[in-house]
């Protein structure tokens, strides 16, 4: 049979043949970047696959992957697929109990873990997951004295594979040959904001076609460098660091540890980069803090040239006409500010950068574009193999996500919901025909649950989750995420939760950014003992009030949203945390849950009270629970009459 590159294992074998000695993956270990070539990886994957087969993993079974981005987890993924088994990556920072559901739902029999931490979790829930019979670990540290029969090291797995491969020559190749484009390639669980997570079944055709189309559109080659730093369980990580890795044959780099990502990013300087808005936000916050601490001349230079960049940077990147004087200034700014800044951000070589996952603040987005980084928005979801809309080069608008990607059909229903049909559309939710039927129409359209519309240029504009867009009692549109994002663009605001649906006015709960506000406080010699103390300071309230009022001034300028200005706000005494279920694992705020959990606060916001006592249960990292209590101040914010704001602006 002629070679058709329609499964991942076949793609891997193809690269091992075509570019055997090109670097395929790197990992920083003991301070040095270690490189694997395509040939080496193909060989290792063969061993792991044989090992897994020897340990009883068969076609159609599920292999759980638990850990950070480690090359061996990627190898295991390819190995499982070679056997026709299905990799199921889990969120590595989930607590043990959260893993039970997925492990049981997918009837996982084998798991590959990163280290002791993950092994401990799986051992803890072993009694609840009777089918889980084999757990392998990458890093043996601290595991020497573990004697559970289920447990074995990755090295042991390789050994088993070596023996098995020797006993069964041709086994691996035969297994790879059995794979077909319509087979399940991977299963990613959606982080459900409300119900149990659902396993999204994606086929090779889904992922490969989608990845290939996008790669062609962006002109990706085998010379790209990518840093794999987001959770494996997230579909984007699969697309950018696995699917497109195998489609284009470039090099994926694994950071040394989650804490070193910034350093590693700088060292690798990826050419193809993805970051969700919260990462971009954190980066910008760091830059802002550093600039505030910098010498006066540096601060002035930064301020001046960022002004130039805001004015012409985006236009220059889009190839639009710009005056000679501005061009010259921008060139100088590039030399003095933007270039060094890109270098610090690790984006000096970036050709294509995407952001997606949630709406990005327009100011945040234009910041990156203005300093010459080709940052583009992307719209998609697990169910659509990520790519639905991509902003094409030169046609970037901060408030839309661009036209549909190649091969994708998008339509908007009468009630404003976005529907999608594409080659990347998932086959089904695993063992959940009812949910599948709800999400997919009989003629193959996927209901995204997002509300939005096409603008006059055919670019899709996303407003919010369809179910979250509400109305104030006076009928004004209330798009909470839009407001929250506006607040979160301020470096001092980490999270915001807006309330207002069915109410007379909009109120807001705010999480300050501990690092940024802490720094701010230190510079003012403001002593504080911890997060809760800092958050309760009148000075900090003043700081946050300024942010809220600036947002209000902005909103006043938009006739559709002018009435959804924020009237009252409070600063929460604890940081919203995924462990306390206030955020999803992808760090989206769960507005409904928070509204219930902090019901007394919502009540206090709307009843006009000046302060409110609250006691909250928290869960510590080791799984213990405790409670913290505080009396929170509630403050009013100035709002603006639409006309007045227009004159001011």
């Amino acid at each position: 049979m002629a070679e058709t590159l329609d499964t991942f294992p076949r793609l891997l074998m193809h690269h091992a043949k075509v570019r055997p000695d090109r670097p395929a993956m790197r990992e920083k270990a003991l301070g040095i970047w270690q490189t694997w070539t395509w040939r080496e990886i193909a060989e290792e994957v063969r061993l792991v696959a044989c090992g897994l087969a020897a340990e009883g993993l068969t076609r159609g079974q599920h292999l759980a992957l638990v850990g950070e981005n480690r090359p061996r987890l990627y190898f295991a993924m390819a190995a499982a697929q070679s056997l026709g088994a299905i990799p199921v990556p889990l969120y590595q920072d989930a607590v043990a109990q959260e893993m039970v559901y997925v492990l049981r739902d997918a009837e996982v029999t084998h798991a590959i873990t990163e280290d002791q931490e993950q092994v401990d979790k799986l051992l803890e829930i072993l009694p609840e997951c009777p089918k889980l019979a084999h757990i392998y670990y990458d890093d043996p540290r601290g595991l020497r004295s573990y004697a559970q029969p289920q447990l074995a090291s990755y090295e042991r797995l390789l050994e088993r594979g070596r023996d098995y491969g020797a006993e069964h020559p041709g086994f691996f190749e035969a297994e790879v040959a059995k794979g077909a484009a319509e087979d399940t390639a991977a299963m990613h669980y959606t982080s459900g904001t409300t119900a149990h997570p659902k396993g999204v079944v994606l086929t090779y055709r889904n992922l490969i076609e989608c990845g290939r189309n996008a790669a062609q559109m962006e002109g990706l080659t085998d010379r790209e460098d990518v840093l794999a730093y987001l959770p494996l369980a997230w579909i984007g990580q699969n697309i950018f660091s696995y699917t497109q890795w195998l489609v284009a044959g470039f090099c994926v780099n694994c950071p040394e540890s989650p804490e070193t990502v910034m350093t590693d990013l700088r060292e690798i300087a990826p050419t193809y980069y993805f970051a969700p808005p919260r990462v971009l936000e954190a980066l910008l916050t760091q830059v802002t803090i550093r600039m505030e601490d910098a010498a006066r001349i540096k601060r002035w230079m930064y301020g001046y040239f960022m002004g130039v960049a805001r004015r012409v940077g985006g236009r220059i990147l889009d190839g639009k006409p710009v005056g000679v004087a501005d061009r010259l200034l921008y060139w100088l700014g590039d030399l003095l500010v933007y270039g060094p800044l890109r270098n610090v951000l690790g984006m000096s070589r970036v050709r294509v950068a995407y952001t997606a996952g949630e709406a990005i603040g327009p100011d945040l987005f234009t910041f990156y574009r203005s300093i010459g980084i080709n940052m583009k928005q992307l719209y998609g979801s697990t169910e659509t193999s990520v790519f639905v809309c991509i902003q094409p080069n030169g046609q970037i608008k901060p408030d839309t996500v661009g036209p549909p990607a190649p091969g994708v059909e998008v339509k908007v229903t009468d009630v404003g919901e976005i529907l999608i049909r594409s080659p990347g559309l998932f086959r089904e939710y695993y063992k959940n025909p009812q949910a599948t039927a709800e999400a997919k129409t009989p003629d193959g359209w996927f209901r995204t649950g997002d509300a939005g519309y096409f603008d006059q240029d055919g670019h899709l504009k996303i407003l919010d989750r369809a179910k979250d867009v509400g109305k104030l009692v006076d009928g004004t549109l209330f798009a909470p995420k839009y407001l929250e994002n506006k607040l979160k663009f301020f470096p001092y605001v980490k999270e915001a939760v807006a309330f207002g649906d069915g109410r007379a006015m909009v109120c807001c709960m705010i999480n300050i950014d501990f690092e940024a506000v802490g720094n701010w406080a230190e510079r003012r010699n403001l002593a504080y003992s911890g997060y809760a103390d800092l958050a309760s300071r009148p000075e900090v309230y003043g700081l946050v009030r300024d942010c809220v009022e600036k947002v209000n001034a902005d909103l006043a300028a938009d006739p559709k949203l002018a009435n959804s200005q924020i009237h009252r706000f409070l600063i929460l005494h604890k940081e919203l945390d995924a462990d306390d279920e206030e955020l999803t694992r992808t760090r989206k705020v769960r507005r409904g849950f928070i509204g219930d959990k902090f019901g007394v606060l919502v009540e206090a916001l709307y009843s006009g009270r000046k302060e409110q006592f609250i006691e909250t249960k928290v869960r510590f990292e080791d799984g213990r629970t405790g409670s913290i209590s505080a009396t929170l101040r509630i403050e009013d914010a100035k709002t603006f009459a639409p006309a007045a704001a227009k004159r001011a602006a």
Binding site: L30, G31, L123, G142, R144
Partner: protein, 280 residues
Amino acid sequence: MRADATAQQGAGGGTAPATGAARAVGAPILVVEGVSLAFGGVKALQGVSFDVREHEIRAIIGPNGAGKSSMLNVINGVYHPQEGTITFKGRSRHDMVVHEAAAQGIGRTFQNIALFRGMTVLDNIMTGRNLKIRSTFLEQALWIGRAKREELEHRRKVEEIIDFLEIQHIRKTPVGRLPYGLQKRVELARALAMEPELLLLDEPMAGMNLEEKQDMCRFVLDVNEQFGTTIVLIEHDMGVVMDISDRVVVLDYGRKIADGTPDEVRANQAVIDAYLGVAH
């Protein structure tokens, strides 16, 4: 407190500690006999005797001013006791100097952190390798032959320790800029770089929050298990130490008032009195 409590195997039969480390506690490596130390008229230690066995974690606890730090300083030669002997690895000594103690395989950390604040984390840890450098002066200066090879080896060893203590992200950070908890970890890293047989930890958890304390406990246990290092640590707070120690010496007003397993010590009336502040 660790999930592997059920998983121990071959941990040396009856001497196996409740902490579940897979190591065999051996013969005494350090013997302290009848040590008395006075500063002027103040008696810091009075006839203290105890031993430390190879591969064990030995805690010295006691209320503030009980003489714990003095004891540690006697062991590594900062103070010279007026009476008594210290026998380390079978060799008795009276006047040992601090840097000789280091050369014999005694590493230590300090209660108030003694790091090279102007240097990076990496350079700090590298100083721990100083005693292990064998190449000659000239080779080092010209960066030839042995010196280069040696340097790379030391660097590798140091990287292993960095990996072990999970401080990769601060490798190039000047120590003076780090928060307290991380500085403590760097100090431990530097002591480990010396590959000591006996590690003295002076209040390793003092001033830490709960999470940092737990991290430090984990590292102490891991060091003990992975490298087989004998550890003597002092603490004034009984809590954490009891969970990770094999045996505990209790000092009060410069005298030993109890010595035994954590359970024995916990049940000892004199200890309870000392901690509750009952008058003598």
